[in-house]
């Protein structure tokens, strides 16, 4: 009995009402504007501090020399690209199950950010590989998985663009992202297994020897900075997606006028 009283309680009803309000695109648009700006500035500050620290003030690493400083961008980018893919799949599920358009918009606009992070992780990984392994590209398990992840991202983006109606693109991409997220652990596992079979990894720089605290702090800060920047970018892009989808409504027209500068 307590259950039914819970579902009818004003607390629950308010929660539902709040949720629906918050997931309405217009509400989100207005809320995210100041929020996005704050997060963006915070991200910039943290990124500058952590990267300058990492580049100039963190001590040199004994085994790899100064090339280890690439870790301050490679690892955050790699983390972020995986986290964003998981987020896209989760948002897709939310969109499909509860038919919340906002989740679809956020998922769609996270794709280019995630793809750019996967790209950055690949490029920095390759650059780091040259002084470490002596080759630009090594079929290392992590790099290979990252390459597959980049393909998954490109597939999502291509699917969005191929569909004539954006609503269809949303749902199709959500299904693809869900299929991808089920497969991602399998892909990672298989690639790692394949890698150990063919060439025992000599040195895994993402599992570098326990980091000294003076390296760890800028490293963690850099991760935080990248995450915040991604959130700020996603908010900005999602706001534009909302405007694009709602461009016929009066509020969106007014907003486009404001953005264009002729109020």
């Amino acid at each position: 009995m307590w259950q039914s009283s819970f579902w009818q309680s004003s607390f629950w009803k308010n929660l539902v009402r709040w949720f629906h309000k918050w997931t309405s695109p217009k509400w989100f648009y207005n809320l995210s504007r100041p929020l996005g700006a704050w997060i963006g500035w915070l991200a910039l500050l943290i990124l500058v501090v952590s990267l300058v620290w990492g580049l100039a003030f963190a001590p040199i690493e004994r085994l790899q020399g100064n090339s280890y400083r690439i870790i301050f961008i490679h690892v955050p980018a790699a983390f972020l690209s995986q986290a964003i893919y998981a987020a896209i799949a989760a948002l897709g599920l939310i969109g499909l199950v509860w038919r919340i358009k906002l989740a679809f918009y956020l998922a769609k606009q996270s794709v280019p950010i995630g793809a750019s992070m996967a790209f950055l992780a690949l490029v920095t990984g390759a650059i780091w590989g040259k002084p470490t392994w002596g080759a630009w590209w090594v079929w290392d398990a992590r790099l290979t998985s990252m390459l597959v992840l980049l393909f998954l991202y490109l597939g999502l983006w291509a699917l969005h663009n191929a569909m004539e109606r954006p609503e269809s693109g949303d749902r199709a991409a959500a299904i693809l992202a869900l299929v991808g997220v089920v497969n991602l652990p399998i892909i990672k596992f298989s690639v790692e297994w394949w890698n150990t079979l063919h060439q025992p990894a000599t040195l895994k720089f993402t599992e570098a020897p326990p980091m000294h605290i003076s390296m760890l702090i800028p490293f963690l800060l850099a991760i935080l900075g990248f995450y915040l920047a991604a959130v700020a970018w996603a908010l900005k892009r999602t706001r534009l997606e909302i405007l694009q989808r709602e461009r016929r409504t009066q509020w969106a027209r007014d907003e486009l006028d404001r953005l264009g500068g002729n109020v």
Partner: protein
């Protein structure tokens, strides 16, 4: 009517349609043959070196041949409206989709499997690995047909569907390729292979239960476009 009855009806229809389009039927095996024949021309005729690559080459070629035929899985059904009827059937559409995937395997995966020993000989694969090559291809292509069905469903209504399908599905085929090749290599080298084969089987089972659901969801979008 029992579900099994409908399933056999669907299977019967698909095989009949495949037979009536038998010109298309020849494409994957031909593609398989040509890729494998081109390989020594591009790399080396040295049998010893070919033998070390045979497992991988055969698997990659089979995978691409399979991919080639996936584009047609739902295309004609979409064009003539049969897809709508499929989704409005009184029985679960997943069952019908499963029937179509099985039919696809019977006319693609199975022929590729059956002709693989012949091509394996051309690449000097060790005879000990032959049975495992066939077994791994038979199991792996089941997964390819099922997972590929999702991609085919997502791209069925699109103009550049075939190209997009490749991009969407290739990353998902990576594990099948890795373990399929590994089984054959292990068997050729006299190492234990049952673990890899079990993983291939596990992937096939996972695809069997989950892929039809995703495929039907994708088809529902396709009929809307």
């Amino acid at each position: 009517m029992k579900l099994s009855r409908l399933f056999t009806r669907v299977l019967q229809r698909e095989l009949q349609l495949a037979y009536r389009r038998r010109a298309d039927l020849a494409n994957p095996p031909l593609f398989f043959l040509i890729v494998v024949a081109l390989f020594p021309l591009g790399v080396t005729p040295d049998l010893e070196r070919l033998a070390t690559m045979a497992a991988g080459v055969l698997w990659v070629a089979a995978l691409l041949a399979n991919l080639l035929s996936l584009d047609l899985l739902f295309r004609s059904d979409h064009e003539d409206g049969s897809l709508e009827q499929l989704l409005l059937a009184s029985s679960p559409p997943t069952l019908i989709v499963l029937g179509k995937a099985l039919a696809h395997w019977l006319v693609t995966g199975l022929p590729l499997t059956l002709m693989s020993p012949l091509l394996a000989m051309m690449l000097a694969l060790s005879p000990a690995a032959m049975p495992l090559l066939m077994l791994s291809l038979a199991l792996g292509t089941v997964t390819l047909s099922l997972v590929g069905g999702i991609g085919a469903a997502l791209t069925v209504g699109l103009r550049q569907g075939g190209l997009l399908l490749t991009l969407l599905i290739m990353p998902l085929f990576v594990p099948v390729l890795i373990f399929g090749t590994a089984v054959v290599q292990a068997a050729g080298a006299g190492l234990p292979w049952s673990g890899q084969l079990a993983l291939l089987a596990a992937m096939a089972v996972l695809a069997l239960v989950s892929a039809p659901l995703a495929t039907v969801a994708a088809l529902r979008i396709a009929v809307e476009e």
